[in-house]
Subunit: 634 residues, 2 copies
């Protein structure tokens, strides 16, 4: 019976029930390949270490009885033949039973003066002191680490019995897929074709798991081909992964192929993303159908594939730990949500989060973007697995976070404010100074509000007050009394203007042109300085915003807005020159505005802020910004 | 000026002062080699992702305007030509602006019924939705992880600018050293010769650091050869490590060689072990002299070599984090000392520790064995770096522990009690059941006392009461009232007897023979059941212990005692048959004794104890014990 729509916990139960106690046969591998392997048997030393009585110091081997009662004032005086120089680690011949440290002796006219009384065995490492022949030096299940490697080498183990890791194959499928190696430059891909990149991610993941992964030949969306590939894979490998094709679309054949060749065990997991995951067994080998979006592939790798790898290797599954092993968790902690989140009910949800410390408290926020977003997945510091019972997560709620990157808690500053591509370049300069900076583009007003709520270390704004004609003053004043302790740093002046297609085909030159019926704009989100500027200009010219086509189409960055123009979704966007240049668009300057950092006084000592304030006068940074164009230094 | 006897903190200061800001030139490496590297520049996407308007679902591409006002009751009805089937990820041609999910449609007679009203862009991923051309997708300093690898592949990056890792060489030195590959079987080594195993440990450590390590040819203890090797290495590598020869023995030439060819920066570090460490610069390349004992080599690798690797790679040193990176810390925690420890004053000390949870509290205890002990280093769960200000550490003191292995806190049981080689084999059987067991041989009486103090999950004893002739009863009674809740489990009966050289050359047959002047015994520690047995037999026969040669020579395990006999340090030991067999010695049976586990009632639910109690009736275990000989099942 195929189980459908399983909670994650039942998936693990099913895996355990079927694969516990069924580990692969033990392998014997050469020592030099054993680093990181798990021992499949106890290791018993075939020799003593040391294998001879060894001096523990540089000095003279003597008979302890010949030094009896010796002191600094009344040394024992030994004739030649009664002592012998030994280095640390040297053999102490059976004629001697102890070693006098060189510091405790002096040599005069061939006589050795010993200034201490030695007991039998003093400064001497007896045979087998470290390891006795026959002793168990490592146990079943021990991971072979650098120290065990050296020890095994020293005792002469040249082959080790280890737990076998399954041989795994990943079969990419899909007509839309361009297999690896077929196209080197994705800028030549036709619409509808995508690079097969999941196998790149999986290869690295398996490298971290120290488990071999083979990439099978690409299979088209065709039941017959898939059945053949599946059957062959199940013969040759211990575990088969099939990329994409696990949902219920017209081209999804994985479930059907498994049912033909073996047994389908479950289909659909109550988690997001990764819901279309499925598991079967063909020739008694587990087969996992992995949904094709990058984030889906990854969470299914963590939560379904890795448990199988561990079961096949160890014969049991450590439920407390396997997810951390799968994900390579670097730090597990409780952290508070920086913004509220609504999770689907009855479904476990994987959140991609970034992390920051504000004051002494640690926060995370979820990254937006669906399971298709590679950027959000690559940007994440870590992940949160929300249980199926979680629904509303208010701001401040404590979550269990698994960080997969080192988060420099003390030195990471969080910027929330106005988007600017030159500011994005600062991250690199802050990092070179040993600190870190995260940029969240939430608009000028959003940034100031975040600052007022204590949710950022710094902000930046370019907000024109149409009443006064001044920038930022009145907006900042509205956040009193908090803003009394805010410092302002003018970073640069930047040109705002119209971003239009190359050659300006619609001949857009002034603000009035935006109201033309043949012109469609793309706007920015409310609270963005650029939108405030647009609204102010419209008001100045007495233009009704509701008449402007595309006024409600929002983007949150200059680059995003430019991109809409580049792809013909809009004719014009108000924005900055560097965003137009990046996409090879034309730029019609309209005005110049000051762009200011706003930083609470208390944060000036923060290592991230200190690095940032140092970085903004870095010559290299300024040259880079100058090359972007559209900026003027104060 | 050479600085001498530096505190560890000053070592790090010196390294920072000299090597900050001097990172190696940036390298460009092929993408497929980049996993784990650190980016040396920001990476800007050359393409949009997706590069075409893509359907986010399986369904029909439509014009949103053609579905206006559609509901389940009043569907929009579209003619052929007004819709087109698209799979998830398919190209949505410019004629359409949205996609109706297949679930929200039905197809009848060539007409598409759409049961929802779609907005422009519904279920459609616009061009650049995930990544906009020109966007920074990864920053300077980012570690290239599986997700970034896939992203870079997808956007067409085939070469990446990364921070260069230094090329490092390790030169083993020493006349006593047998270079790797020269002798395969160490049991053929003559006295005074040892396998060069430090390079095995270092290779694995550098593998974890993802930094290339080359092993140079072995150099004899000779100044001229060392100077030549040093000069050549400094020309070819970024960082030179010299194994052994850093102390002040007759054969220690590292300091002198560096002074000849370059500059000696410091010698002697106030830490234990690793004190003879030294640092110089030859041709401006850092040269580290590493003391030769395994544990010394390792702590110098962590505390001197790794900081140099990081400085050469990154240009700065993250003091909060580098030790954890160097050691591969898996968990950092505060834990209490299970037994008191005295640390040398004025010197930082590295402790090798094992860890256990007792009740809800986490404990560690230091492993004995000098810096030469490979066993203690390999056995450690983790390490503690005691500051130079630490002196007396009373039992219960909280220490900062860096664990380098996964410690199964919940399922690890601590055994303290009587030594037995058959019990040592139980570890493996407990682990196969997903739990863990640590064995500390502290003798029967020591084990019961530990149990009474709550410092063990179980104990084992075979203590004969000479008054009553019964085992264990009176000893356990002496721990009332704690022992009222102790359960006893008879594991087996075992033979005690005389362990003597093959052929029993001294013809030792009865207890009286031990008092002979030509016989030397090796004893066990006070509180060991075997010693209690010996004392009881001596008393029975009216033999004065003080007349027995070697009575005061103590060992703490049966195997240890046997080993002394095997190597002629004693003629006889009282002990068990399996220990005699392990070393191919003869065994003269004297008596049979019960060997009992003692387990507090509350611990019976502990997963480690439950696994142990299950394991003792494992057929395979019993067969293994039977093969050892000298045991009888109850």
């Amino acid at each position: 019976m195929v189980k459908e729509h399983l909670p994650l916990e039942e998936v693990w139960q099913l895996l355990r029930a079927r694969w516990t106690g069924r580990r692969l046969p033990v392998e014997r591998i050469p020592l030099q390949q054993a680093h990181g392997a798990l021992l499949a048997e106890d290791i018993v030393s075939p020799i003593n270490v040391p294998h001879y009585p060894a001096s523990a110091v540089d000095g003279y081997a003597v008979l302890s009885s010949s030094t009896s009662m010796a002191t600094a004032a009344t040394p024992a005086i030994l004739d030649e033949g009664q002592y012998q120089w030994v280095n640390t680690g040297s053999f102490v011949p059976p004629d001697f039973d102890s070693v006098a440290m060189v510091e405790d002796t002096s040599l005069k006219d061939g006589n050795l003066y010993v200034y201490v009384s030695l007991s039998p065995g003093a400064n001497l490492r007896p045979v087998g002191e470290d390891i006795v022949k026959g002793q168990i030096v490592a146990h079943f299940g021990d991971a072979v680490d650098p120290n065990l490697m050296a020890l095994f080498y020293a005792i002469g183990m040249r082959e080790l019995p280890v737990l076998s890791r399954p041989k795994v194959v990943f079969i990419p499928t899909g007509d839309e897929i361009v297999p690896r190696g077929h196209v080197e430059d994705p800028s030549y891909l036709p619409p509808g074709k995508v690079m097969e990149s999941n196998s790149v991610m999986l290869e690295c993941l398996f490298e971290k798991w120290k488990t071999p992964l083979f990439i099978g030949p690409h299979v088209k969306d065709d039941l017959k081909s898939l059945r053949e590939a599946l059957l062959k894979a199940a013969e040759e490998y211990d575990l088969v992964l099939i990329g994409a094709g696990s949902a219920k679309g017209k081209r999804d054949f994985t479930a059907e192929a498994i049912e033909h060749e073996g047994e389908l065990l479950f289909h659909w997991v109550l988690m997001k993303p990764g819901r279309p995951a499925l598991l079967g067994a063909v020739k008694d080998k587990p087969v996992v159908g992995m949904p094709g979006f990058p984030m889906s592939t990854m969470v299914v790798a963590w939560s379904v594939v890795y448990p199988l790898v561990e079961l096949l290797m160890k014969g049991n599954l450590n439920e407390e730990k396997f997810l951390d092993d799968a994900m390579g968790t670097k730090e597990k902690l409780k952290a508070s949500l920086l913004m509220s989140h609504t999770s689907p009910q009855g479904i476990s949800e994987w959140l991609r989060v970034r992390a920051v410390q504000l004051g002494s408290k640690r926060y995370v926020w979820p990254l937006s973007g669906g399971s298709s977003s590679m950027r959000a997945t690559a940007e994440a510091d870590g992940f949160v697995l929300l249980s199926s019972k979680t629904y509303e997560c208010p701001k401040g709620k404590e979550l269990e976070v698994r960080l997969v990157r080192d988060v420099p808690w003390e030195s990471r500053a969080l910027f929330q404010g106005s988007d600017d591509p030159a500011v994005a370049k600062l991250v690199s300069y802050v990092r070179r100074r040993g600190a870190d900076l995260i940029i969240r583009s939430v608009g000028s007003l959003g940034g100031l509000a975040a600052l007022a709520r204590g949710e950022a270390h710094l902000s930046a704004a370019h907000l024109l007050d149409p009443e006064t004609g001044f920038y930022n003053d009145s907006y900042i004043a509205s956040f009193k009394p908090m803003s009394d302790r805010w410092k302002r740093f003018l970073l640069f002046y930047r040109q705002q203007g119209f971003i239009v297609k190359k050659g300006n085909p619609k001949e857009i030159k002034s603000i009035e042109d935006l109201a033309r019926t043949d012109v469609r704009i793309v706007n920015r989100q409310p609270g963005a300085g650029t939108r405030v500027l647009l609204d102010s200009m419209l008001k100045d010219h007495g233009i009704d915003a509701s008449l402007i086509k595309g006024y409600d189409d929002q983007t949150v960055t200059h680059l995003d807005a430019s991109c809409r123009v580049a792809w013909g979704l809009a004719d014009v966007a108000l924005g900055i020159k560097s965003a137009a240049d990046a996409l090879d668009l034309d730029f019609i300057p309209i005005t110049e505005e000051p762009y200011e950092f706003v930083i609470p006084e208390d944060e000036l000592r923060h290592p991230g802020i200190a690095a940032l304030l140092d970085a903004i006068s870095d010559e290299e940074f300024r040259e880079e910004v100058d090359r972007m164009g559209g900026y003027r230094w104060p």
